[in-house]
Symmetry: D2
Subunit: 168 residues, 4 copies
Amino acid sequence: MTRSHIKIRVLVTGGTFDKEYNELTGALFFKDSHVSEMLELGRCGLDVEVHRLMMIDSTEMTDADREVIRRSCTDAFDERVVITHGTDTMTDTARYLGERIHDQTIVLTGAMVPYTFGSSDGLFNLGSALAFAQALPHGVYVVMNGRCFEWNDVRKNKATGRFEELTT
Amino acid sequence: MTRSHIKIRVLVTGGTFDKEYNELTGALFFKDSHVSEMLELGRCGLDVEVHRLMMIDSTEMTDADREVIRRSCTDAFDERVVITHGTDTMTDTARYLGERIHDQTIVLTGAMVPYTFGSSDGLFNLGSALAFAQALPHGVYVVMNGRCFEWNDVRKNKATGRFEELTT
Amino acid sequence: MTRSHIKIRVLVTGGTFDKEYNELTGALFFKDSHVSEMLELGRCGLDVEVHRLMMIDSTEMTDADREVIRRSCTDAFDERVVITHGTDTMTDTARYLGERIHDQTIVLTGAMVPYTFGSSDGLFNLGSALAFAQALPHGVYVVMNGRCFEWNDVRKNKATGRFEELTT
Amino acid sequence: MTRSHIKIRVLVTGGTFDKEYNELTGALFFKDSHVSEMLELGRCGLDVEVHRLMMIDSTEMTDADREVIRRSCTDAFDERVVITHGTDTMTDTARYLGERIHDQTIVLTGAMVPYTFGSSDGLFNLGSALAFAQALPHGVYVVMNGRCFEWNDVRKNKATGRFEELTT
C-alpha cells in the first residue's frame, strides 16, 4: 500500500516545532526549520518535498496566511500534504482548509516543545503525521498525541495541552 | 476515525530499540524497555497497553519465540497490535505472523540506533507505527523509515540498513 | 593534590542553568534543580553536598539574597564552595562575596542555555567550576566559557554573552 | 590568573570519548573527533588548538603511540596540554609521560560513554580537564569523575569504572 512513488509535500509554517532558544535574551525565536534534519534522523525513506512557507507563531497567523497555505496545498500535484504548525491555532487552520479542500489528504501536526529541546514530542508527531498522511482517505486532519482528528471534530484543551474531540 | 476507545497493545521483544551501552565493558545490553518513556515523551494520548514479552537481540529469535508473540497477539482482545522488534529478523517474524493472523492489524517496528543514543530513529518509528496500526485494515505490516510494507513484500537491505519492497 | 577528603559545598540559586520549558505557556520557569542529576551524569566522585538556597532569575536577586548566599558560604565548614547562579548578575554577587569572604575558595558558575535543552553549556561549566574550586587558592571567582576570572576583574559582555576581563 | 593569552593544546587520541555507533553492524567505531564541537557547546573562550594525533581504542595503544603523544607535547610551545584518551590504558600513558615530561602541565581525560550517546560524561570531563590544565603547576595528571590524580598515584577500578588513588 505504501508504494515508493507516493510523494508527500511537507509545508513548514513555524510553530513551537521550529523554535530556538536565544541565549542572549532568553526568548524563543525562529531561525531555520528543523524538519529536514528530523526526516534524516528518522531515516525517512519517503519521497518528501519540504517547502518553508513562513516561520511564525501560530497566534500571529491570519487568514491571509491560511490562504497561502491553502494555495500551496492545491497548487501541488501531490495528493498528500503534511503541514507543521503551531498548536494554538492549528484547529483554526484545519477548519479553514477543511472547508475548502476536498480532494487531498492534508495532515496538520506540531509540537508542544521545540525540537531542539531534549524533551520534544516533535519527532514522534512527525512520524505519526507522515503515516496518517499515507494511510488516510481524502480529508483534513489534525495529528497530535499519536492520535488523528478530523478537522471539524477537534479542539486543543488549553488546560492540559492535549487535543481532543469536541464531544468529549 | 480515531476514536478514543481504540485500544492498542504494544508488545516489546527487545531489539536495538531498547539496547543500552554498558560503560564498563563497552558492549550493548538490555536492561529495561524504554517504550513507556517514549510514549510519554510523545505525549501519547492513545489507550495503549505495553507488554514486555522478551528482551532479546532479533538474531537470537527462534520460532518458539515467534509463537509466544503470535499467541500474545491473538490472546488480546485488542484488534490492533504494535510490536517492537530487532531489525535483523523483523521480516521473518512478520512472515510468521502474516501466515497465521488474518483478523487483526499487526505492525512491527524497530530502530537502527538505540533510543538512549542521541541519534535514534526510534521515536519517529514508534510514532509512525502507532499511526499505521490505527489507520490500516487487518494485515501484518513492517513500518520503518516512515514507510509501511506488507509482510510478504519487504526485506531489509543489509548494505544500506533500509527496508524496501522485494520487487525494487 | 585532589585528596578524596576534599569536600565541596554546591549552592544552588537558580538561573538559566535550572530553567525548564513550560509547554502550556511557552515560558521558562523553575521546578527542581538539575545539579544532582548533572553530577551523576559526570560520574562525579567528589564529596559534594548540594544545598538549594533559592530558585530565582538572577535579575531578581537582591542584596538580601546575596547575604543568604554569603552566610551559607561562611557557615559551612567546607573551605570550597561552588555556586550556580544566573549569568545576568553573576558578577554582582561575585563582588558582594569577594568583598566579604577571604578565607575560602568560592566559584560562581552558570549557563547560557538551560541544562534540559540539548545545546546547554551547563555540564561543561559545572565540570570546570568544580575543578577550579579544588585547584585555586582562597578567593572568589567567576568560571564561565572554560575560563576563570577574579571577582574584581570580570564583566558579562551582553552583546556576545561571553565573560571577559574589565581591561580587555 | 586565567589570562586570555593562556594557550592550551588539545591532543586527540580517540577512546570512548569519540566513538560512534555503526547502525549497520551495531559496533562502535571512530569517524571524526567531537572535541571541537564540544568546545563550541561549552562556549569555550580559551585559546585552544586541537590536534588529532590518532583515533584508536586505548587497549590498542603501544609505546610507539605514546612516544608520538610525548613528542607532540614537548614540540608544542604551549606549556599546557589536554589529552583525550581511552580510559583502559589512560594511566599507562600518564605514567609514560610523567616519567619523561617535567616542565609542562599535562592533563589526560576521557569518557566512560561516547559523547554522541545521551548519557556521556565527556563534556563534564572536558570542562574539568581544561580547568585543571590552567590551574595546576607542572606535572602529569589524570582528570576523571571531577577529580584530579597525579600520574603516579592513580588506577582505574575496572569493577566500578571509577578512577582512584593507589592507596585507597
